[in-house]
Assembly symmetry: C2
Homo-oligomer: 339 residues x 2
Amino acid sequence: MKSPDKSAAAHDATTDAAIARKAALIALDWGTTSLRAYLFDAAGKVIATRMSTAGIMNLPVPAEAGGFDAAFDEACGVWLGEAPALPVLAAGMVGSAQGWVQAPYVETPASAQALVAGIVRVRAACGVDVAVVPGVLEPGALPNVMRGEETQIFGALAATGDEAVPQTALIGLPGTHAKWVVVEGERIARFYTFMTGEIYAALCAHTILGRTMKHPAEPDTAAYLRGVSVAREQGCVGLLATAFSSRTLGLTGQLAADEQPDYLSGLVIGHELAGLEAALARRDVSLAGCAPQLIGAEALCERYRLALGAFGCGAHLVRHATEHGLWRIAMQAGLVAPR
Amino acid sequence: MKSPDKSAAAHDATTDAAIARKAALIALDWGTTSLRAYLFDAAGKVIATRMSTAGIMNLPVPAEAGGFDAAFDEACGVWLGEAPALPVLAAGMVGSAQGWVQAPYVETPASAQALVAGIVRVRAACGVDVAVVPGVLEPGALPNVMRGEETQIFGALAATGDEAVPQTALIGLPGTHAKWVVVEGERIARFYTFMTGEIYAALCAHTILGRTMKHPAEPDTAAYLRGVSVAREQGCVGLLATAFSSRTLGLTGQLAADEQPDYLSGLVIGHELAGLEAALARRDVSLAGCAPQLIGAEALCERYRLALGAFGCGAHLVRHATEHGLWRIAMQAGLVAPR
């Protein structure tokens, strides 16, 4: 009798094979620190996923030694072994200058069709062509770039029912480099990048602010909203000044050590939203009058939803934007047949 | 015949002794990363200095093992050996909770007399009393603290002749945690802290922005002023957004790798000044109408002077503020007789 491990593995292989026979598309969200592979059926439903840490800056085998092929085979090899003719689409930093093949930016205003027209293909060592979606560039005095978010945006725009997004929309994508995207007439018209996640991490790990912090067992919503409120009121004096209060309020006994992490989080997110509000106001758009959609990790989007509430703004989380976006672009590119 | 090294050392020891006999005061600027000791004559002129890296966070011997005494002896032992009755005054982080003795903050509005009243003494192992100057706290919803800068401020206020500072004044102290201090009626009335130096260093060393930078052979004034200008125009969208342009302008070929360090420097200093301008405006004070004094390292103060020019503001560097401040406080505290 086979050992339980071998039985389980054999069972998984059988299951994978059965699933792969129903598939119509493989699509990859291939970023800097992780790779997520989706298997879709012909109706655009995700029937399997595989996730690894093989982001482009984290390949187990160096790129020069075939690292992209190795990561691709590890993620998709079983599916392609069963269904070698499956089309493959990839979006994210895999199309950057440090990626598998460079898919040059498409400029704003960027439609889904423009993205499709900008797709670049790379032939994997196993013989499969991988279609790579380009990022978007907004040129100008202060240019902006995105890579991966464009796919999520068109996924959010394609949603039907409760999650449908109006065709002129403000969409927020919280993260290491948070993006705020203005969509007009189904095109990415302009966008802003806030280095909020990366700067928060640097403040905690590499400045005096982290030295008095203790990490709480649970996130402290009251401390978080206090930080948002300070940023909102002191928006124009700026983060360089308000950040210091995370320390001084501790020195004066007005903010406990285990409140400081969430207070500082509220401060930086509050400054981001104050900056967004100011940027929109320059174009006579009121943030409080918007109903933004949020795409991203659920806990982080919830933080943003709370903070937006303090700015008079009701936001909704959009789920599965990545999958919907990959499917939509695959359809528009003719990789799969529309139903 | 003695070796040249031994002759030189013997000569220095003789010179030190001769100098010490003319001295009236030892005063220490004892901060986090360095210690500077000044020897004054009875007219308040600095006749010798000694500098070491034995800041309170950098003591060669741990504090618990007598590190403060060891650093003090190393800095001042020769002088005290010759003139053991010399009074000793110290200002800076040496009076903080992590220092040799805690000299509790004096609250704003803070006069020189209030500082003197707040002096705390610590007895060194060698039997000498060291008088430690307190820092200043501005209480409130967003409190602020300084320790060491108060001494420099009163040094600048005490200056005569060309460097005299009006009794209602705005004084800037660039640095890791830049301070902007409003003096009214010879009291420190209120002040602001901007974490500009520390955050700039963290952005360069610990975010994506540093990865495309090359350090130029000479500072690039044009790139610096470009950054100041961007911050001035985009003040309210904030540093979280504008910082990203150091990278994106590189990606689009609009900013060379060896321009990025000074561009980002101009950006952060520009945001600091935009924040200061906004804070002053809330109290109906126009930054452009001020003639601020700058105290600090010369090259850094020069950067600030240039940036202030872009804000319509003419600034002057004040020299020797630390020494003048230590002498003034020593006189006011009765450690030395006035002349």
